[in-house]
Amino acid sequence: MSNLVPVLIDAFSVGGLYALTALGIGLIFSVMRLANFAHAEFVTVPAYALFVLSAQPTVMAISAAVLVAVVLSLATERAAFRPLRGIDPATMLIASFTVSMFLQRLLVFAFDSRLKPVDPLAFLSGSVPLFGVSVNLLKLTTVITCLVLLVALTLFLKYTRFGLEMRAAAEDFTMSRLLGVRANRVIATAFVLSALLAAVVAVLFSAQTGFVQPRFGLQIVIIAFVATVIGGLGNLLGAAVGGFLVGVVATLLQTYLPPDLRPFREAFLFLIVIVVLLFRPQGLFPARGLKERI
């Protein structure tokens, strides 16, 4: 038991970040069938904001990071994805790559590609006792934040008017518009929520790694993509579960794989992904009424 607690906290603090990222991707996918690779930069750019504002008070730096994420995400939607609405998902996916590449190169241009130190949550560096073992405070905070956000997002989707409209749009976009749901507003809501989640991931993940570089968001987004697909594209609950699952599997592989195989642990992870896709092409929890056939 006692040595299981740290492993579980590890697993869930990694899995929680994947889950939040997968949700950010899933929200946009469910309303407009866009598998948004540029989500990577929705994470990276706010992390750079934290770096730029590292001399400022924590609250201010984090608020600025959130703001930057939201503005970036709305601007991307307006400039790149709105003109492509309704086009086939593969082309949209590729367009989102190009957006991602553009933003990444912009970051390299502005900041070069070396690692930049960030430590937005320095005050969480200690440990607290839990179930008789000492647990890293930052990891614990990560787990709690992720759970709180999951609950908040669920309540938002279930009980607010925006949430209702988003769920309707995810099920049948045209019918929802016939009922008066405004396409631009629903999509903008999805992008804002996605950006909020991305900003939180940026803060927590940069606090865990201690640095930011132009590929910062990409590493986490690639794995989150996997989580989204494994969970069942278009199914938000599936995306969250998929995220946690991938985090847990990655941590377990890291912990229990023989040392000389450990460098290959992500290869095993992606092998599992392929196997899941082969046996359940719609993911583990397929979404109802999803038009895109996988």
């Binding site: 598998a35 790149a80 003109p83 492509l84 086009i87 998902p89 593969a90 082309t91 996916l93 590729i94 367009a95 790559f97 190009t98 957006v99 991602s100 590449m101 553009f102 190169r105 912009l106 390299v108 241009f109 990409l218 690639i222 993509f225 996997v226 697909v229 594209l233 460098p263 290959f264 992500e266 290869a267 992606f270 092998l271 992904v273 392929i274 896709l277 082969l278 092409p281 719609q282 895109e292 056939r293 996988i294």
Partner: protein
Amino acid sequence: MIDRASPFAKNPKGFVHSLPSRAGLERLLPLLILVVIVAAIMLLAGQLGIVQQRRITLGFISMISVVGLYVFMGNSGVLNFSSVAFMAIGAYVSALLTMRPQVKATFLRDLPDWLASAQFDPWIGILAGGLVAALVALIVGLPLMRLSGIGAGIATLSLLIICYIVLGNWTGVTGGQRSLMGLPTYVTVWNAGLAAIGAIILAFIYQESRSCLALRASREDEVAARAAGVRVVRERLTAFVLGAFICGIAGVFYGHFLGTLRVENFYLDPTFLYITMLVVGGMRSLTGAVSGVIVISALAEILRLLEVGLRLPGLDAAIRAPAGLGDVVLAALMLGIILFRPQGITGGREITLRGLRD
């Protein structure tokens, strides 16, 4: 089996119309034009300095790879992010076969004896690189070809990542994270150009085959194609293996062009670049694949010249852009083309003397 009256010819001006009915020469015309264009670029390169020649050589290598990508992705309509993994396989296979035994002994401790002590001819490296890539494609493709859409995208992306991780950590055989140095650098603008022409011819022959016709039918409507008896998985697999063969050879040329292999050279950046080239040109035609490479390479070159400082006749000062801006602008241009022409520059049609035709 599939004739002009087939239900797949949804668009009456579609591919079915363009194939069997045309006379032989007219049918070959797109191929001839593309070959002439590539040959012309080769001749032009011969007049240029060594730096420009190297850039053009690199462009030809991209062309081989993008044509390989087109063979599968363009004809089947299935997303594929794994083409660069097959390049990597080709490059490493050829490197291990053609490097000098002394060099191998210092870097690579886990090679089997027959390989550690041998040094093969470049030709063997090229063929083996392509064939091993094709073999791997056959094995992994067998299960994977059932997937389409985003699922196929994620599965092939996983393949790329697995390949990257394995090559990057199998230190005794690939050099791992360190660079693998000492590949014979025999690649010139001439042999790279000829290889590009070879890839184009191969892709063209394939695209005129019945197998490819059936594959294209499944691209338009998978369900209807299956109902009409098209064995979709088999046709896809054929294209996947052929595409991997071509990409493997592209990888061989890339390795022997650089002389040094790093796993980073075979990961996300080139993957995005090649896919974007294909999409910018127009994913659905060979002309699109070739023209995408030419347009993007030319833009990249112009932007690079601007960064170095472009001196125009009659102007005293050089026009000069800040370093790194070229990459940003290139990405912006690619995005712009995708936004304004989602079907690519060619709109997915082949080139003829009277312009672009379906």
